[in-house]
């Protein structure tokens, strides 16, 4: 028999009991601080410049001027809106990673109404049409994979992902049809834009704020929200208590799609007044992260979407100020997310190291 060394492993992992709230917060704050320090170290390694400059530049990018603050708030609002959209589906364990496409199709429908009817239809009616068209288009885009999932149990992850590509190509196609010059750029149509409340961003921000509260109440206090949670936790339990699982899947994905439609409307009808294949800008995927980090709680998503938006604006400024490639933004975001997600491990587990003097203990 092989002779074993009588030594304990250096450390082993032990599951923690529920830790108090303040400890959890403390661990998370420590993770963010560590992440920022790591970012500064990486920054110093790359540029040989003071980390203080780095932090200043980041802060400056997000909060430097009033305009920047509004910009960031707006970016946060759009991201939050898409995050809200994917959340009911995620709570149901329906991995909708097709928000990108759903937003794009909603935006496309909005752009189509603006393009064809802005000369012939009075503004208030046009706004209603834009809203309905966006919501309807996104709902259709979301409900197709849901129908397949509910009836034939297809894999929704792949399905919704593929629908994104179709959406991108659809947008490219219609721009070709609409833009006769062949430049591939649809000129903005601000005359058909949604009405402004205050400045250019307030309408979008207020719409999203209202949506956040509504969705929170819907998920937390309504019968529908309860059904979504039960279906997500266990389809067997849902069937056992007589929930029509198919119906809940379809209904929830329609809701998910509808909110994506609102996001598409706000992007196209409320901000850019035009569309291109990149209008959703990858936020359909970033939203997944926002929703997960907040553990599917719409109110917590205000925090997480703020964090992501801050990182994006801040790091853009850093790459501007120091003439760096845009990759710095990805690097910093990745480091910070790594620490935030990684610290969950220390919330659930702890490491127990080998006691230095084992002989004394026995």
């Amino acid at each position: 028999m092989k002779k074993h060394e009588a030594r304990e492993p250096l450390f082993h992992i032990v599951k923690r009991a529920q830790i108090p709230l303040y400890q959890g917060i403390l661990i998370r704050v420590a993770a963010i601080v560590l992440a920022l320090l790591t970012c500064a170290a990486v920054f110093f390694f790359l540029t040989q410049k003071s980390p203080v400059d780095f932090y200043r530049s980041m802060f400056n990018g997000a909060f430097g001027t009033e305009r920047r603050i509004w910009n960031m708030a707006h970016q946060m609002a759009i991201l939050l809106c898409i995050s809200l959209a994917v959340t009911p589906a995620f709570k149901m364990r329906f991995w909708n990673i097709g928000a990108e496409g759903q937003v794009l199709v909603g935006g496309l429908a909005c752009a189509a109404i603006m393009f064809y009817f802005r000369q012939s239809v009075p503004l208030p009616l046009l706004w209603v049409m834009m809203t309905l068209a966006s919501i309807l288009a996104s709902m259709v885009w979301a409900i197709i994979p849901a129908i397949f999932k509910a009836n034939w149990n297809t894999n929704e992850t792949l399905f919704t992902l593929m629908m994104n590509y179709i959406a991108t190509q659809l947008v490219a196609y219609f721009i070709n049809v609409w833009v006769k010059s062949g430049s591939g750029v649809l000129n903005p149509m601000p005359d058909a834009g949604l009405p402004k409340l205050g400045n250019a961003w307030t309408l979008n921000i207020s719409v999203v704020a209202v949506l956040t509260v509504i969705l929170y109440i819907y998920l937390r206090f309504s019968k529908h929200g309860y059904e979504i949670a039960v279906v997500g936790e266990s389809e067997n339990t849902a069937r056992y208590i007589g929930v029509n699982v198919k119906k809940v899947i379809l209904r929830t994905m329609m809701l998910s799609g509808a909110i994506c439609g609102v996001a598409g409307l706000l992007i196209v009808g409320g901000t850019s007044y035009t569309i291109n294949a990149n209008s959703a800008g990858g936020q359909g995927f970033t939203a997944i992260m926002v929703s997960w980090l907040a553990k599917f709680n719409p109110l917590l998503m205000i925090l997480t979407s703020f964090l992501i938006a801050f990182l994006q604006r801040g790091t853009n400024q850093v790459s501007n100020d120091f003439k760096m490639d845009n990759s710095i933004s990805n690097i910093v975001t990745a480091i910070i997310l790594f620490f935030i997600i990684g610290c969950e491990f220390f919330i659930n587990y702890k490491l127990v190291f080998r006691k230095p003097s084992k002989e004394d203990a026995t």
């Binding site: 060394e5 009588a6 492993p9 529920q18 949670a229 936790e233 056992y240 007589g242 203990a361």
Partner: protein, 513 residues
Amino acid sequence: MQKQTAIELKGVTKTFGTTVANKNVSLTVNKGEILSVLGENGSGKTTLMNMIAGIYFPDEGQIFINGEEAVIRSPKDAFAYKIGMIHQHFKLVDVLSAAENIILGLRGEGRYNLNKAAQKIKQISEQYGFEINPKKKIYAMSVSEKQTVEIIKVLYRGADILILDEPTAVLTPQETQKLFDVLRRMRDDGKAIVIITHKLHEVLSLSDKVAVLRKGEYIGTIETREANEAILTEMMVGKKITLNIDRLDPVSPEDRLIVSDLECVNRDGVKVLDHIDFTARSGEILGIAGIAGSGQRELLEAIAGLQHIDAGQIIYHDPKTGKEENLRDKTPLQIRDLGVRLSFVPEDRLGMGLVGNMDIVDNMMLRSYRKGKGVFLQRKPPKTLAEKIIDELEVVTPGPSTPVRRLSGGNVQKVLVGREIAASPTVLMAAYPVRGLDINSSYLIYHLLNQQKQKGVAVIFVGEDLDVLLALCDRILVIGSGHVTGLVDARHTTKEEIGLLMTKTEVKHHEEA
């Protein structure tokens, strides 16, 4: 004769979070000896053995194998010490044959030589009296055959120390006897055997010594010949309790649920239920016995409206209106809307009956959330119900807003049974309601079922422990691979008779019924 020690544990402690699974446990197993590790569910038996088998690593304490201190960090280390564990849930590859499963993962000379392996398997089988066909695929095997493969697998690897986790839980009385014969032969061959169990009569008939754990603490070891059921129970529970289940005579039984010619085919085209006929009467407990997976689950789910029915009828007699309703092809919601008060405690408590991540209040709401007008939930009535159940059934929980998965098995079941009974059912179906429960909780559940019976509820009780079925039920329906193989009067039958009916395959239905 002084026996050599095979395993010695000294002060072994293992914690998971704040739960102490094992606290300062010290015990010894000798070669040529069968030791039973006895304890209620959750007393830390399996955790303790998993540390010997290399699945967990102890937080504190030492393990000695053959007198030398050992550090077992993985199952591979355990094999090097010639320790083999047969887990409660088998770890076999379904599409491979017995021989392939046995040599899977082995290194060294001739590891791909199936003929040679088959020879060695045959030799082991003859030595200890196993019956096994090395070429048979696992998916075609009965539970007992699979268990045999698991045991041979560890013997093939040369194990001298065998640990069996609840090996009889899934066996019929006859199969259990066979297994015990094999284990005795291995003991006589000088192997050290540890069997984890909570069944007292098995402990008494098989083992040489009994080690008792209670709530993770080691209580003591006694020689089996000095033990009896009362002593062992007291050691397990910590106080004297009487182990008698009351059985009252049924009060004016009436036909409540008549199942006739029921047939269900599963997705693979296999008939899981075939011509099932029986009647459940009010004020009576109808037991359902059978080997695990003989169609018990499908039967209850078919009645509850969760299983597609291919033929047959389920007729419900409404005691109030006297009307008859056919429940076939109705969803659970439609059944409820008909006014049929059917309660169901499913086998899979946290996967079907309850939602583990939700708190007790939200779990109460599962049955009642539709009540009340409007789109919003009413959390007040379920909260009152949750508090009432916590109070009446003595559920141990920090409060009604604790997620049920944090509760112990017994308390989870109290929540589930409490909710189902609160609906004042006319039919109550319970599948393995005491599986995994400690003795006190089990007796509480029996008591609750008896209470329902006295109230005139038709109780259907699917059980695995034949002693309990015999003591609690009025009639016992025996199911074997989807057929009814017998219906016996629980007052005038024996365990052996039921055991034989459980394994009966050829059935002449209709004529018998």
